[in-house]
């Protein structure tokens, strides 16, 4: 039996399941907040075009609008200034093989519950590897914090000195990118960086280092608690937007 036929059979029997790692695109879902004098990320918005009425008697459809970084979304390398000159750095040019791949899930939920500013460091990654094996080259690495279970003001956790949410240290990201050669890094928070990531060196290290090396990002993920530490397959194709810096998307995982 071919690998795909085997997969099809496993999906049919339920031996392989799909897990939805996506938040619903909801107008009231938080987006990244920048100082108000900067350009802002558009919120998800919907306008009804017709609903079986005089505007269109037999059909219901709507126009929606949003930013490339609204809701559960994908970051392409060109999103960050460090990735601006890389080849194939936009969502329409990234090889599609990057959108399906093995995924390692680092469970930081206990640490994030303890410390809202928790930073995932190299030591913690190595401790994870001691149990689950070395992170393979070309893998997606997701940082589970259970942050997706928070809602309202707790999600961005914004205070006068900015957001307080967990993320990686710059050394951890450098280790994943340079030593483990991962494909991409994903989080449950609004960005791949910690809420206070602007004060790390370099500022926003996940964005800077990942995208500078042509790696990919996923954020606002959900249901990471339903994934095994290793062995799942991530499916995350962004919309094929010309010169896109990112895209909202449906993220699925296949788990056994």
């Amino acid at each position: 039996m071919s690998a795909l036929a085997h997969l099809a059979a496993s999906l049919a029997t339920g031996a392989v399941k799909t897990v939805d790692l996506t938040h619903t695109l909801d107008p009231d879902f938080p987006v990244m907040i920048l100082p108000p004098e900067f350009g802002q990320c558009a919120r998800f918005r919907v306008e009804e075009v017709s609903r079986y009425d005089e505007r269109g008697p037999g059909w219901y459809w709507r126009n929606f609008s949003c930013g490339e970084h609204t809701g559960t979304h994908f970051d392409a390398p060109i999103h960050w200034i460090s990735g601006r000159d890389l080849p194939n750095a936009t969502v329409d040019a990234i090889p599609t093989s990057a959108f399906v791949g093995p995924v390692c899930v680092l469970d930081c939920s206990a640490e994030a519950a303890e410390d809202e500013d928790y930073l995932l460091d190299v030591e913690a990654i190595k401790a994870w590897e001691a149990t689950h094996g070395e992170i393979p080259a070309g893998a997606w690495v997701l940082m589970r914090t259970d942050w997706s279970k928070k809602s309202g003001a707790e999600y961005l956790n914004m205070r006068e000195d900015g957001a307080h949410t967990p993320g990686p240290t710059s050394e951890a990201i450098r280790f994943l990118v340079e030593t483990r050669e991962i494909l991409g890094f994903g989080t449950e928070t609004v960005g791949t960086d910690a809420g206070q990531g602007a004060h790390l060196s370099p500022p926003y290290p996940a964005h800077y280092i990942l995208h500078g090396a042509g790696k990919l990002g996923l954020q606002c993920l959900a249901n990471l608690d339903q994934l095994p530490a290793t062995g799942a397959i991530l499916i995350c194709p962004p919309l094929k937007i010309k010169h896109g810096s990112g895209s909202p998307l449906r993220v699925l995982a296949l788990v056994e």
Partner: protein, 417 residues
């Protein structure tokens, strides 16, 4: 002294809501000059440029010298009631529903006698001060008030037909995130509003002043985001039937014109709030308010647009915001036409630069949130439809009236050239 209006009881759900009827609505083109002044609360009569004679009622030509050069001029509102009658029957539906109705003739100190509605506290043959206001038809009328304030005089049945007093009414302030929204919530609560609904968008992000806002008496926070059609529809569905006064405080102001910006992103945000946001509110709340213009003591009575005075003529250093405000003004004019006949006043409150973070580098005079709130409250209590708040707004509006072309040339000329 007028008996104070008591807080109305809950509405009987088995009785049909009283439909708005109107006092006479037609005015000639010449006579509309009085309505323009009344909307601003100015008491005017026509004066002949050639012979100087004051004229009443409005005419096409001077009855003394037949000159066509009549213009509306503010006159002394003092006078004396010289004759009066209490009308107990009428063929006009509006008055028929409101009988008895006191009206009479006032001899103005300016030397002209006029017909007017008479406040209940004016003594027979008593001294009066006249006001000009728009009535439920949106047209200018005169009313004689007692010379000095008397207790509860705002509760006079006939005067309350001309005003939009927040007392016992339910107010919606559409955006409580700004200091202006918070100051207005406080002002409406202080003016005796039964409920002050305050809209809050994006409750996932806190803001300074939230706790103080929630602590104001009679304030109820409601989720409302004017940029989100679903949010506006849901809010209107929940509370639209009991919003008597709507004050739109949602504004998006950013410095900058055209070529200093590299894109239309910020301009789109301005339009999304200042124009489309206003339109969503009108579509959401307009129909309910229009149907409730005669719904008793707490009838729907006013819709307040806060507009930058640069809606009248563009201020280039806030050029894009000015354009969105001009769009909002144009929409407000359309809305006035669509609300005509409902008895609900559409109030345009023009203001100059606000004392806020977006005008922080600008020199004074600027309008503080408290002053803006105070003047909006005053306009509602007095029943005004067009007000200018702050020295800048008063000056710009005056110059716009004098000569819109000169104002445009002045605002767009290079300084020091």
């Amino acid at each position: 002294m007028t008996d104070p209006i008591r807080k109305p009881g809950r509405k009987n759900p088995q009785i049909r809501t009283v439909q708005p009827t109107l006092p006479p609505a037609f005015r000639s083109r010449k006579a509309l000059g009085f309505t323009v002044a009344a909307a601003e609360g100015r008491f005017c009569l026509q004066r002949c440029d050639d012979c100087g004679k004051l004229t009443y009622p409005a005419r096409e030509a001077c009855p003394a010298c037949l000159s066509m050069n009549l213009h509306w001029q503010d006159v002394d509102p003092a006078g004396q009631l010289i004759a009066e009658t209490t009308i107990r029957t009428s063929t006009n539906s509006y008055f028929r529903e409101r009988m008895p109705w006191r009206s009479g003739t006032v001899m103005l100190d300016a030397g002209v006698s006029v017909l007017a509605h008479i406040h209940g506290d004016v003594a027979p043959q008593g001294r009066v001060r006249m006001i000009a206001r728009t009535d439920k038809s949106g047209k200018g009328v005169m009313m004689a008030l007692p010379e000095e304030d008397v207790e509860n005089m705002a509760d006079d049945k006939q005067l309350r037909e001309l005003t939009c007093d927040p007392k016992h009414r339910r107010v919606l302030i559409t955006d409580g995130r700004t200091e202006v929204g918070q100051a207005l919530a406080k002002a409406m609560s202080g003016a005796g509003a039964g409920i002050v609904f305050v809209g809050l968008a994006e409750q996932w992000r806190g803001f300074a002043g939230q706790a103080a806002l929630e602590a104001i008496a009679n304030v109820e926070i409601v989720p409302l985001d004017v940029t989100n059609t679903t949010s506006v529809q849901e809010c209107a569905g929940e509370i639209g039937g009991k919003v008597d006064i709507l004050i739109n405080t949602a504004q998006h102001t950013r410095p900058g014109g055209i070529m200093g910006r590299r894109d239309v992103v910020t301009s789109r945000d301005e339009m999304e709030v200042n124009y489309f946001g206003l339109m969503r509110l009108m579509q959401g709340f307009g129909p309910g308010m229009r149907a409730r213009g005669a719904d008793g003591v707490n009838s729907a009575c006013a819709w307040v647009n806060l507009l930058s005075v640069y809606a009248l003529s563009n201020k280039p250093d806030f050029g894009s915001t000015s354009a969105s405000q001009a769009a909002a003004l144009s929409l407000a004019q359309c809305f006035r036409a669509e609300m005509a006949g409902s008895g609900v006043k559409v109030v345009n409150a023009y203001h100059g630069p606000l004392e806020d973070e977006w005008h922080q580098p600008l020199p004074p005079p600027k309008v503080s949130p408290n002053r803006l709130a105070r003047e909006v409250r005053g306009a509602l209590q007095q029943g005004l439809e067009d007000i200018a708040i702050g020295e800048v707004a008063l000056d710009v509006r005056m110059r716009w009236k004098e000569d819109a072309g000169v104002l445009e040339k002045e605002l767009t000329q290079i300084e020091g050239m």
